[in-house]
Each structure stands twice: as structure tokens, then as C-alpha cells.
Symmetry: C2
Subunit: 318 residues, 2 copies
Amino acid sequence: MITALAGGVGAARLLRGLVLCLPSAEVTAIVNTGDDTVLHGLLICPDLDTVTYTLAKMNDDERGWGLAGESWAAMEALERLGGEAWFRLGDRDLATHLYRTQRLSEGALLSEITREITHALGVGARLLPMSDDPVRTRLTLVDGPEIGFQEYFVRRQHSVAVSSVRFEEADRSTAGPGVIEAITDADAVIICPSNPVVSIGPLLAVPGIADALKKRRHEVIAVSPIIAGAALKGPADRLMTELGQEASVVGVARAYTELAGTLVIDDADAALSNDVEATGMRCLVTSTVMRTVDDAERLCRTMLAAVPGVNIAKAQPR
Amino acid sequence: MITALAGGVGAARLLRGLVLCLPSAEVTAIVNTGDDTVLHGLLICPDLDTVTYTLAKMNDDERGWGLAGESWAAMEALERLGGEAWFRLGDRDLATHLYRTQRLSEGALLSEITREITHALGVGARLLPMSDDPVRTRLTLVDGPEIGFQEYFVRRQHSVAVSSVRFEEADRSTAGPGVIEAITDADAVIICPSNPVVSIGPLLAVPGIADALKKRRHEVIAVSPIIAGAALKGPADRLMTELGQEASVVGVARAYTELAGTLVIDDADAALSNDVEATGMRCLVTSTVMRTVDDAERLCRTMLAAVPGVNIAKAQPR
């Protein structure tokens, strides 16, 4: 059993590799829901959907989000009405949000609904929302108001400076069903190369998750989303800098050292491995850029072999 | 100024003719919202949308509902998820419900939103929801529970016997902005050939609307939706019978005689004109079947010429 803490695209790529190393039924992903937003009355869970679509092999790899072969009739009609169309919802993607919102209105929990959606789309891995309670990532801009995550990430294309981040209602939230057990019972826990501030941050703000990781610190392995001082995608580097962290593998190590025994860094950062180890983490240097599924599988096999306590013999040949 | 009380398809067809007789800015439709329903978290207003799409010339005439040239990607994806797909929502149609639900969540009233949608789609006539408050048509089945209108009409395809109908929360509702004035100030008021029980019924259940009609009774003209004992479309005939009314133009006359001075019946029912007049209504016999826009225009011109107090000189040549 391997459990991964997951944000969106970076996590989805790694998970796509992980299910090639292990039977997918042995893979659990605990997924950030701090990005979730209600738009047009629909609950949209971007990270859950990105991971789901990717594991179902339905994602659009080129665009980087949403479904392959998507159509946009609803958005075009919405634009004609003068509606808010900055958050692009494809016609097929809309069905996911319709389904989820309908089921919520019937009293189903997000964790149940996620199980139904992943089952319907043939995803073998277990996806757990970090919480069934709404936790919302909010960012205060340097010269502006506090805004929601999608307003920052999509509408403003993360091109504004942030002075602080908080996870609204996280302190009142409860980890979703099976979340703590998935950490406690796993052979190893992987913190995916997701944004430490706004993708992994919300997960750690849910009471119990960080404590569970600390207890398993030796079996927790984090993958740095920062390579050579920059994020491959998204604003992780700028956000870390803006919030007073170092946008480097060392900054990532400092953020995770209490939770994870090992940090995986890219070959490009090999020279910093001593500095990473100075934070108290083991440092694993390998190629972490996942351009292809093969890249992801190779990275996962390297990681699984390196985590103390994980019997790599369990990892199936492809 | 002509005001029409409108349900869905039958009303939309008549209104399409009416805007050929008068400048569309002089036409107001007060539209039934008792059919409205929340599905997948979206507020759907079938009658408002049918009238809007028809007046915007965007409706699918052949199918009888929804938009022409519609696509169904969202519904197909929803079916794959095992979602409730009995109420077919086309991709472009979905945009209307997304827009409306978003605006409602921002605090806009249904009447404002309707104005925005009709304006965006180039509808010149004024469409007024009967109320900004939710009023919901509920039907009790002879051998079953009470169900909502769309459950009856779409899901069960109105093939079940009904023992009673009520309009939930109608007594607590207020007529929408401009609704009472549109009746009071109109040169004539047309009750469209919509289902008297479940399309016009909810309008009459909104406090103030029936009283306003009574005061204008001489200028109110109703068009019978029953021709030769049957509804052209839908369950009006069966519903009237099930509820103890006569499914004939005489039954329609009895339902409307307190509110309307004139009943328009089809040539097929000419033999019943004396019986209609025995209820206290004037009876106008003409062709009421609207297969084409020309049919609708002809019917409207005949009506406008016949209503006492309406100066037909106002009616513009086409």
C-alpha cells in the first residue's frame, strides 16, 4: 500500500507512473480540495478531477487540464449571455460537476461521490478528498483584497503578488473517511511534486494529517516541485518567495523536514543535496521531470526502492 | 400594449405570431414559473426558456423543446457517470441555467436575470416571471405519492393519473415586478392556449393576478388549448378530466369565465359556441391550430380585432 498526497497536474503525472509500478488497488491518493469552488451553482473540484481524468487516461495532456476531445458549446453560449466564462468548463467536464452537485444535494458526501465518479470512469486507484468538509484556500494580495484560489490561479493567472495564504475553515474540518488510516497503514507515503503552499498546504492544515505524517516520517518521501529554483508549472516558486521561503530544494526541504524523512530532488539540483541533508532529510537525487509516462514510472520505481521499509519486490514489473 | 399569460410551447407559438402583429416592445408575457426545478444544482425554468428561445428564433421546432442545432456532450458524459439524465439538458441550453444560477447566487432576482437573458438573445418582447419567489407545481398521483411537475411531465411522461394539483408556496408569493401593472395597463390581455391546470393555474395562484384579470375581464381573451375534446400536445385534456373538469371548450370556458370576457375556440368546436356563451363568455370561433408562424399571426390578428377596446389600427402590417 502506497499513499500519495496530491495536488493537481504534477501529482496526477506521478500517480500515472505509480499505478504502473503497483497494482492500482494498492495506490491511494489523498487529494487537495482547497482549490474547490462553486461556480454557476456547481461544485468544481479541480485537483480531484485532474487526478481522476489523468488516471482514467481521459485528460488532455497538451492543454494540461480538462478532458481530451472536449467541446465548448456551453461556454460559447455562456459568453453570448455575458456570463462569467473565465473558468473554462468543457461540455463533458460539466457533467462531472453536474453529477457531483446533484449527489451533494441528495446528501451524499464528497468522498462517496468521488468513489462513484472514479468507479464509473474505471480508475483503479483509491482517491480520497482530504476532507468532506469545505476548506477554501484564500490568498491576500500585496496590493489588494483577499481572493479565492481560482480567482488567483485562473482568472488572474497567478500574475499578482501574494502577501499571505490561509485555508478557510480548515481548523474546523475533519480528515475524510480513510485519510488518516491511509497514512498510518501505508508502506510508504509520497508527497507529490505539487505546490507546497497551495496544494500540499491545505492538506497539512486539515487536523490530524500532519501529525499522522510525523509519526510515519521515516516512510514519508517528498518530491520537490522546485527544480533549479523554479517550478516547472504554476506559481510555486513565486509564492514561496513572496511568503518568505526560499524557492529552492532547500526551501522545500525546510517546509517538509518535520513530516518527511526523504526529499527527492532533480539532478539539476545535485549540488544542493548536502544543504538538503543539513535540514535533517535524506536526499535522493534523480531525474524528476515527468515529460512522459515512462519518466513518471522510472521516478516512482527509484523512489519506492529508496524508501526504508518498502519492499521493492512488491513493485510489479510492468 | 398587449399582455399575455404564458405557459410553454403553446404560448410561445402564439407569442411568435403576436410580435408580428405589434412592435415587440409592446408585447409583455407573464410566464409560468411553477414548472421550475432545481436539477444538478441549477435552476431550470422551462417555460421562460421555451418562450425566450422561441422569440429569439433559436428553438428547435421539430423536437418541440430546447435549442436548434443543440449538442448533447454533457448529457452523454453524465450518463456515463450514472447521473440523472432523464431531463435532457443540451450543451447550449445548459449555459442558460449556468448563467441564471450564477446570477441568483450573486443576489439577482429571476426577473432581472430574465431581462438579461432575453436582452442578450435579442428578444424584443418583455418577459416577466410570474413571481420572483419560488412557486412549485406539485401533483398527487391517484396511486402514489405527491411529485414535482417535471417528475410528472418529463420523467413519467405524464402517463400517470393525477388526483390533485397544488402550487406550493403560491400563497406566500408576490407577483413579480411589473406583473400586476402589465395586466392593469394593457389594452388587452391574452390567456395563451396553455394547460389551464398546470400552466395557467400557477399564474392564477399568485396573489393579485386573478384579481387584476377580473377587473379587466372585458379586455381579457383566452384561447382554448382544448380542440375537439383533446389537447394538441401534453396532458391538459386528461388532467382536466382527472380533476373533475370537462375536457372541452365548455370546460375551459367554465375555468376562465370569471377572468376573461372572451374565449377563442377552434372551428372544430363551432357547434359548442352556444354552450361557451352560456357560461357568460363571448365566443370567437376561428382556426386556432398554429402549425406555422403564419397561422399564429393570423390567429393573433383575429383576436386583436375582436377584443373590445383594442384599436386594431395599432396593429402594424407585417
